[in-house]
Subunit: 206 residues, 2 copies
DNA sequence: AAGAAATTTAAACGCTTGTTTAAAATTAGT
DNA sequence: ACTAATTTTAAACAAGCGTTTAAATTTCTT
């Protein structure tokens, strides 16, 4: 097994798990140290402060969150195929990391904890050419002319929210974990068909 | 003006604002007391503990959140009209209380803080007859046969997420508050048309 | 093997936390 | 007006917080 993690990496990994599960305010330095099997002082020895460690974890999570699935737009496929694959991969990513959307949006909502370096993320997304491709498709009448902010919201809403709302929905509908996972797989299908059906303008044969 | 709030009500009101803005872990009893213009000890004099005060605030917010817009299903309108009005009111509610979805889902995601009484909420929703009406419409072929959990997810995703993602979207797209509010108004239209278009099966005239 | 550097530890620092106490101030009852 | 009950206050409590210190241990260099 890959037990060859350095102390620094062990702390970073433990911090990621604890921060994402409980949030910056909801955990302590000692808790992170214990999760990493270390002394408290080592956390600050390697990362100076709880804030700084959090900043590293958050920025890594944000980058993962935003970039994990957009590289599909570099491929040579039809826009509809790309959209389908994008949603497919987004759900795959979120099944592995279901807490990341809530973590990102929660921590971002009160940004006084520390300023984050979002810089570069938008550039990396832009580098895939996705924005040009969408605008081009709008010009050609392939997809609906909707502001890209609204377009992103439509897609992200339907991908992220089902994972964020899991505790609420499980209770309200009395579902087990397995049953909710089944609903998530169905949701992926519905969301894909709904978004494709709404965004893509049917070809008129006249 | 209605400055006739009792001490207890002032604390409850201040606690609501502070808890929703910063979360249970992100604020202190003294902060709530100061926001209410009171001594710290008064918080516990009236509400016993921070946990108990939070429980009251959370349950009230959850009830508001889940019940504020469902009474439209008691009215005598077509299902499509009800759905349109429901989404309209959901957005209206969220423009007034944009932080509630994030608050509810965040605090619910680590339920060890205290157990909440969700009981009754589902019953009150059921009392509007919305579930029977939806199942009936599915039987009659008016709307798509989709599990009600998935149906709720489709609607809630598209209503709640645009408000939860505001900090992220404002940064990513470099938008001012006013510009984002404009996008939200547009989003309401898009979401309504997309959901109606997907859920309702077009009448076939043959 | 010896000494220097890096790592790890236990202990302590000052400060803030939620909560409690006991006295002061206000209100209510007669 | 006097007493009792209620409300409000300032002060204190132990416990936990993030962080620092200085000594112990390990690792590296020669």
């Amino acid at each position: 097994m890959s037990k060859e993690l350095s102390t620094e990496e062990k702390i970073r990994e433990a911090a990621k798990n604890v921060f994402i599960a409980k949030g910056f305010d909801g955990c302590t330095s000692r808790e992170i140290a214990k999760a990493a099997g270390m002394n408290v002082a080592l956390v600050n020895y390697y990362f100076c402060s709880k804030k700084q460690l959090f900043k590293l974890v958050f920025e890594a999570a944000l980058e993962d969150f935003m970039l994990s699935t957009v590289e599909v737009f570099k491929k040579d496929l039809s826009l509809e195929s790309k959209m389908r694959i994008f949603i497919e991969r987004e759900f795959e990513f979120l099944i592995l990391h279901p807490d990341i959307p809530r973590f990102i949006l929660s921590e971002l909502s009160r940004g006084d904890k520390c300023e984050f370096d979002h810089a570069g993320i938008l550039d990396k997304i832009a580098d895939t050419g996705v924005f040009e491709e969408l605008l081009d498709a709008q010009e050609k009448g392939i997809i609906r002319k909707v502001d890209l902010t609204n377009l992103m919201l439509l897609i992200m809403s339907n991908c992220h929210y089902p994972f964020m709302a899991k505790p609420l929905m499980k209770y309200l509908n009395g579902l087990s974990e397995e049953e909710y996972q089944e609903r998530l797989m169905l949701q992926k299908q519905y969301v894909t068909e709904m978004l494709i059906g709404y965004l893509f303008i049917p070809k008129t044969n006249n």
